[in-house]
């Protein structure tokens, strides 16, 4: 073969199949999306994506209302605002309203509750609120789960039967029952008990959010414990012997030698566990925590646009889980040995 006579077979043999595979990949994606779209047209579903943004952010009109009955005594402009003074039966009130929206004149007689003016304000929608609750619940549960998992993992490999057997019992109980059932137990059993006891001693009740956080943290903690145990046991026992032979105590050896090395190894399985936790938080809607999934359900009830909104919810979860895995990858690079 001479230079310049690059034939189709040569192209196929070298880069061709790769290019064709890439084209096939995108064609399949297009087919799935397109097929779905046409299927929805067949059942007369009307896509209304333009209705979705209002559940993220919307403009709310806030009206300033008079609180007393009386006469508008003075209108004093102050920049964009106008100060409206209402004088009534021996009382006087002053309200500040935007000049453009002023609805009263000097000398008007107004009743309590009459609108003097209004302004508009951007507010976060229910989906963002739900996303925020999901994020909050997940972050707190992850942090508690790490603590719980670390201590349980250490207890699991301890020689002390009290510690070791408690750890095993906890791990087996939690791993052996469905998260949904555990959430019910936390809220309807433990929640009822704790809130009643709190009420009896005159303290305020704990909101459902904390029972949700507790159920997720305790659930994740059991899995983290096993990950921590595997991570510690994967470190060669010579590392522990070397540090003990230098006179370091067991806790010192754990802290300075074993855990730093184990940490790097357990990061990938830990990331997987916490991605699961974020997704599992979608179950918390059943105990009246308005996280992303429950918020989506509420929006669907009022908007009747389930197709768009379930896709939006899925994408929002994806944003959270993807951000978490990016963060963990960054940690992995940063803690690389010899980097």
């Amino acid at each position: 073969m001479t230079k310049g006579s690059f034939s189709l077979t040569d192209y196929l043999r070298t880069r061709g199949w790769r290019h064709i595979s890439i084209v096939i990949f995108f064609a399949m994606i297009a087919a799935v999306v397109g097929g779905m779209y046409f299927a929805t047209l067949k059942v007369d579903y009307v896509w209304r994506w333009y209705r979705v943004p209002q559940y993220f952010y919307y403009k709310d009109t806030i009206e300033t209302k008079a609180e007393i009955e009386g006469e508008v005594a003075t209108l004093v402009p102050k920049g964009d605002q106008v100060e409206v003074t209402v004088r009534g039966d021996g009382e006087e009130e002053t309200y500040s309203v935007p000049g453009q929206s002023l609805r009263v004149n000097e000398g008007d007689f107004i009743y309590s509750g009459d609108v003097l003016g209004s302004y508009q304000k951007w507010k976060v929608g229910i989906l963002i609120e739900g996303l925020w609750v999901t994020l909050k619940v997940s972050v707190i549960a992850v942090l508690l789960g790490i603590l719980l998992g670390l201590f349980t993992g250490l207890a699991r490999i301890s020689n002390n039967p009290a510690l070791k057997w408690s750890a095993i019992t906890y791990i087996e109980l939690v791993r052996g029952s469905p998260l949904l059932v555990q959430i019910f137990i936390w809220y309807f059993v433990l929640g009822t008990l704790i809130n009643n006891l709190l009420a009896q001693s005159g303290m305020s009740q704990l909101p459902p959010l904390w029972y949700g956080v507790a159920s997720l943290a305790v659930f994740a903690g059991a899995y983290v414990a096993e990950i921590v145990r595997a991570g510690i046991q994967s470190i060669h026992f010579g590392q522990m012997e070397a540090s003990r032979s230098l006179g370091m105590t067991y806790p010192q050896s754990m802290r300075y030698i074993i855990l730093p090395q184990a940490f790097r190894r357990i990061l990938p399985p830990l990331a997987g566990q916490f991605i699961s936790l974020i997704k599992d938080s979608s179950l918390l809607g059943i105990i009246a925590i308005r996280e992303l999934t429950k918020a989506t359900r509420e929006v669907i009830t009022s908007s009747l646009q389930p197709f768009e909104l379930w896709f939006v919810a899925a994408i929002l979860y994806l944003v959270l889980t993807f951000a978490l895995s990016m963060f963990v990858q960054y940690l992995e690079r940063r803690t690389a040995i010899g980097g």
Binding site: H236, G238, Q239, E241, A242, S243, R244, S245, L246, G247, M248, T249, Q252, Y256, I257, P260, Q261, R264, I337, G338
Partner: protein, 243 residues
């Protein structure tokens, strides 16, 4: 300095292994004692019993007058005074060479970072690798790692150094550099207990040689006696196999 009396140790793994049977030995201050013997003879086990990496079942072990098998003894305090060098180096993989040398100094000896680093650099100088202070163990050769491991143990100013087959995991061309460091230590008067297969080292440096077989001390004596006129048949057989 080191005194072991009637020490027994049995392992129960898949079967019962009597690793040490009534082993007694002593190492005086400034002495270099080499323990040799075929594999499975218990020589590593007795060494590991000396700093409680293995707990002896029965008997007495006194280190610098302290009975380490006594429940009241704080073994960490005893270990501070004993350096140990392992066959597989066991350097802390997540720390630099300097970090390996300074960690226990600051955590256990409560030295300042500066003081520990100065001590570490002096010791790296001594083992001939000050230029590797910032390197990580994985980037060093076996011989270099073992020299760092020796320096790490020395950084604690130990009274006794225990060597558990320090050259067995090394390529032949690296054994010399590690043995040289050990010889220097011996000349400086360090009390050393060395488990090794390096007969040349034993002959040249040891004050006494202990020969062990099947968990028992078979013969003890100065190297000239030991290598030229061994009394026991088992010793003769062993020497004929390796020399």
């Amino acid at each position: 300095m080191v005194r072991a009396e009637n020490v027994y140790k049995t392992f129960y793994t898949t079967q019962k292994i009597e690793a040490l049977i009534d082993v007694s030995c002593r190492v005086d201050k400034g002495e270099v004692v080499v323990i040799i013997g075929p594999s499975g003879s218990g020589k590593s086990t007795i060494l590991r019993c000396l700093n409680m990496l293995e707990k002896a079942d029965k008997g007495h072990i006194h280190i610098d007058g302290v009975d380490i098998l006594d429940h009241k003894t704080n073994i960490n305090k005893v270990r501070e005074e004993m350096g140990m060098v392992f066959q597989s180096f066991n350097l802390f993989r997540h720390k630099t060479v300097l970090g390996n040398l300074t960690l226990a100094q600051t955590v256990v000896r409560k030295r300042s970072k500066k003081e520990a680093a100065e001590k570490a650099m002096a010791l790296l100088e001594k083992v001939g690798m000050p230029e590797k202070a910032e390197a990580y163990p994985d980037n060093l050769s076996g011989g270099q790692q073992q020299r760092v491991a020796i320096a790490r143990a020395l950084a604690m100013d130990p009274k006794v150094m225990l060597f558990d087959e320090p050259t067995s995991a090394l390529d032949p061309e690296m054994i010399g550099e590690v043995l040289d460091v050990m010889k220097t230590l011996a000349l400086e008067g360090m009390t050393m207990v060395v488990v090794t297969h390096e007969m040349g080292f034993a002959r040249e440096v040891a004050d006494r040689v202990i020969f062990m077989d099947e968990g028992q001390v078979v013969e003890v004596g100065p190297p000239e006696h030991f290598f030229k006129n061994p009394t026991h048949d088992r010793t003769k057989l062993f020497l004929s196999q390796i020399l």
